[in-house]
């Protein structure tokens, strides 16, 4: 019971709630993206784009709140820029419509999910 209360207590923190919401959206976007690779239709595309863009917005808000709260440091800037770079590369590959590059998209999607896992983990308050 104490452990469950401890876990629920994590959601009293705004950035944890935001990061958790981002994680849910990123997962939905990732699954719909995999379905798109399989050749499924426009519903998957809508889910993928909608969830992906909102997740990216949340990523930007989290980055800004991190800089406001903890200031700019080399490691934090490098970390957030790396995340932004993965998102940008993924968007560029998708928009290039290059078939050879396309096979790496699912790897980038998995990297984005890992990134969100880390974001959630570090935002859990103690």
């Amino acid at each position: 019971m104490g452990a469950i209360l401890e876990l629920l207590n994590a959601f009293t923190n705004f950035t944890t709630v935001l990061a958790s919401f981002g994680m849910i959206l990123a997962t939905s976007s990732f699954i719909s993206g995999l379905q798109m690779v399989k050749g499924k239709g426009r519903i998957e595309r809508k889910i993928h784009r909608g969830n992906g863009f909102i997740a990216f917005g949340i990523f930007a808000v989290l980055a800004i709140s991190s800089f406001v709260t903890y200031g700019l440091s080399l490691w934090s800037v490098a970390g957030w820029l790396s995340g932004a770079l993965v998102i940008t590369v993924k968007l560029l590959i998708v928009h290039s419509r290059n078939r050879r590059a396309f096979k790496y998209v699912s790897w980038l999607g998995a990297t984005l999910i890992s990134m969100w896992l880390y974001l959630v983990y570090i935002h859990i308050p103690l």
């Binding site: 401890e6 994680m23 997962t27 939905s28 990732f30 426009r42 519903i43 959630v120 859990i124």
Partner: protein
């Protein structure tokens, strides 16, 4: 008339001859003395040294019962070790000294070292980026309250051959070895501390007896509380759940899958694909 005279004379004589307690002086840094050490050297036992906000590059040594207080608190009053090989603050064989509201950093020995001291109060201080945050050696009956000892190279608190101390409501996180290391120390009370995210143990008790470890939070360390070669310690009501928080991301992935299925069915109903 004579009675009134003798009464007045007696009162006057008593007021002159009665041994009165000398009042403790208050010394201000940097108004009265430029460095904290100069102020401590000039202070008599039981005097209070009040330090204004600023960065003080020195190694402070306290060997008497003074109260050292940072008026602006630890976020504005920093003691940076001038000689890295020595502690930023050292309390050596003093009794009844008090240190409150300081930050101490940059020592390859310790943020604060309590050596052979007793009845020391260390409160509301912050020790970061030292070899160890707080080191107690041969120190007894002292109180550590509401201090933060984070991001040190070894331990947040290292206690060696120190007995009967009270360590309560302190935070020791992100240290690169252990949060608290209690070694060869008996009869200490470790109560309501937060010891999280340390690279190795949260709280390690080694070769020690009769300690009370209760109400502490040791989250996301490699090991929560480790008792080794010790007996007769009371360990109760601590929260030691190193991997509980892995459940949260997994639950979120599950919610993500559910969210995808919900959206898919909703959009299917809308677009009638």
């Amino acid at each position: 008339m004579a009675k009134a005279f003798w009464t007045t004379a007696l009162v006057l004589a008593a007021s002159v001859l009665w041994p009165t307690q000398p009042r403790a002086a208050i010394i201000h840094v940097p108004e009265d003395y430029k460095s904290i050490q100069q102020a401590i050297d000039a202070a008599a036992p039981d005097d209070e040294v009040i330090v204004n906000a600023g960065v003080y590059r020195e190694n402070i040594l306290i060997e008497k019962a003074v109260a050292l207080k940072a008026s602006a608190g630890p976020s504005s009053t920093l003691v940076q070790a001038a000689d890295e090989s020595k502690p930023s603050i050292k309390v050596n064989k003093a009794v009844n000294a008090r240190i409150t509201g300081f930050s101490a950093t940059g020592s390859l020995a310790a943020g604060v070292l309590l050596s052979g001291a007793s009845n020391i109060t260390l409160a509301d201080c912050r020790f970061t980026d030292n070899a160890s945050g707080i080191v107690m050696h041969g120190t007894t009956n002292s109180t550590l309250r509401n201090n933060v000892s984070n991001s040190n190279a070894q331990y947040g608190l290292y206690m060696e051959k120190s007995h009967g101390n009270r360590v309560e409501q302190n935070t020791a996180s992100l240290n690169r070895d252990k949060g608290f290391f209690i070694s060869n120390s008996n009869g200490n009370r470790i109560i309501n501390n937060s010891v999280n995210l340390n690279s190795w143990d949260g709280i390690m008790v080694y070769a020690s007896t009769g300690n009370t470890i209760t109400g502490n939070k040791t989250l996301r360390n490699t090991y929560g509380i480790v008792i080794s070669e010790s007996n007769g310690n009371e360990v109760s009501e601590n929260t030691t759940i190193p991997n509980l928080f892995l459940i949260l991301p997994i639950a979120l992935i599950y919610l993500g899958v559910v969210s995808y299925l919900l959206q898919k069915n909703l959009l299917k109903a809308i677009y009638k694909e």
